[in-house]
Symmetry: C2
Subunit: 341 residues, 2 copies
């Protein structure tokens, strides 16, 4: 438990010099620095983060508020953020806001109100203006991932464009009866993600002069099972069965593939399926999908914060850039008449 004073003594300098040598702030002669480094190493010295934080006002710690840990998207965002923070010498304090309003309140009191973090990454968190204001008043930089936050810089993909792309892929293959599995309003999902994805689907249909058929929409809860059940309904129709399904997430799309199989339908010959995400399992199931890159999103969120925290920090190239997404074509989509003509 060596302190800075011991290191100073051993190096034959003052505590102030040790601090400078170790932090890199201020000028220290090379020789002195070497002595200090040696002494610190020999004593196994480490700064006390609380003492340092008290003196500087900086915690070198950012809070990440996230609604789920065990969903692919969120886990990946977290992973991206964690490694980017670690690389900057920052710690990441995790707040999992699965629960209700009181848990959320408690988290706010907790870290907002305990000066534990220098900044906040809010993943799919819908904050009220007053909550944002609160953070703002405490001069805590904040960045959102996924969905707009009032007055906060937010990283999120263009859900409308993404689902338009997915739908256009199907239309381009010649499909006209394209079903959509999306979220219903009841499903507690962040922002208007389900709605936006449905809008993109409808836009693509409209652009191709394909009328929207309400019978071709079925809600799902963004799980594999939800997609399975929705697809069973959609594909079980005796007449005018859709030739393609666009699911608002890969997990639902995989559920749809399994449902098709259970109905004796071949994917993609009898029905094409496309999802969104490029989930870990997508390749295994041969799922055509629109990839988004959640780890990258986590990393980018960190870049944005670092820029606000350290004004000298290099401008992240991707800062005001729309987030990337790409169509990944695999074997779950094909022309509707493939194998017949």
């Amino acid at each position: 438990m060596a302190g800075i004073e011991e290191v100073a003594r051993r190096a034959g300098v003052s505590a102030a010099t040790v601090s400078r040598a170790l932090s890199g702030r201020g000028h220290v002669s090379a020789a002195t620095r070497a002595k200090v480094l040696e002494a610190a190493a020999a004593l196994g010295y480490v700064v006390s983060s609380s003492a340092s934080a008290l003196a500087t006002g900086r915690m070198r710690n950012v809070g990440v508020v996230i609604p789920f840990l065990n969903r692919w998207f969120y886990g990946a965002v977290l992973e991206g953020a964690e490694s980017a923070l670690l690389a900057q010498g920052y710690d990441l304090t995790l707040y999992n806001l699965g629960g209700g309003a009181e848990e959320r309140h408690s988290v706010f009191e907790h870290f907002l109100l305990r000066k534990r973090v220098d900044a906040v990454i809010a993943v799919s968190l819908e904050l009220t203006e007053s909550e944002v204001q609160r953070l703002h008043d405490l001069r805590k930089p904040m960045v959102g991932v996924g969905g707009p936050l009032p007055g906060v810089r937010t990283l999120s993909i263009d859900d409308i464009a993404v689902s338009r792309l997915a739908t256009e892929h199907l239309i381009g293959l010649g499909h006209r009866r394209i079903a959509h599995i999306g979220g219903d309003r009841a499903v507690e999902m962040d922002f208007h993600l389900p709605t936006n994805r449905r809008i993109g689907y409808q836009e693509a249909l409209a652009a191709a002069d394909i009328p929207t058929d309400p019978a071709l929409f079925h809600p799902g809860d963004f799980t594999m099972q939800g997609g399975y059940e929705a697809a069973k309904q959609l594909l079980g129709a005796p007449h005018d069965r859709p030739t393609a399904i666009f699911a608002a997430s890969d997990e639902m799309a995989i559920g749809a593939i399994l449902a098709a199989r259970d109905l004796g339908l071949d994917v993609p010959r009898d029905v094409s399926v496309v999802g969104i995400d490029d989930h870990d399992l997508a390749a295994f199931f041969g799922l055509t999908t629109v990839a988004q890159y959640p780890m990258l999103q986590g990393r980018m969120a960190v870049d944005v914060l670092m820029q606000e925290l350290h004004p000298g920090h290099p401008e992240p190239a991707s800062l005001n850039t729309p987030l990337p997404f790409d169509l990944v074509v695999r074997s779950s989509t094909a022309r509707p008449d493939a194998g017949r003509g």
Copy 2:
């Protein structure tokens, strides 16, 4: 950014009294406490965790070191630990040790060496004795989840008993040609989990006088795809096809179910499949499995730490109790001759 002094002034008391009233330590008259609470609320006062930590030596923060974020087991452990910590007023600092030795070293320097955490939960982390010693010297309580750590209290299920149970279930149904998909040594898995699960399998076979057939073992990498490929090999055998497969994880077991389907085999009529975990997807696939309870494991780890951190804390009932696991029978297992006789 009100400080304790302002609260004291507003309440007409000293800073010490404010501290006592707010922390609950020491005696404060009810009337005074009310005044202090009121003043604190009015000013939006919150303690500075760094100042408090510096004065007390307690950070109210525990570090969780975990190798993956996006695998079901680890995500669930994390979720359990997070909510238990939050309930105790502790924060959780996340260290994701996916990478190599240097990343691991960096994490050690980071949090071990920065006095950021009061205690450590090491999930599937293999530490050397000297690393453990280091933590020990810093008097940081530590608890492991999954796998023994030298001189550290560790929570982990009895992998041998778990896989014995799974195998016995199959034997009890009348199976004798039981294949096993486990990890090979090359697969970078924690501790001897794959080996232990294989041992349990062999023990169960031996107890039933069933000889172990090396042809019935196939390694997998604990992913769905890995299980799929292994099962293809196992079930593709022209002669003496196994009538049952015991996979060392649910994800591999699900892969095996999908492989069986692709080979035109019916589960469970032609082949029974059992896994370990009770993964989120297990119910959807009707998978019989041995449930372990990772969220509970995360919570228990916190209980253990709290006990060491606050000696007055109630003894966790489950402390020296072996971790629970249960056979969950669903529709992926049946008698080998079911439907034929």
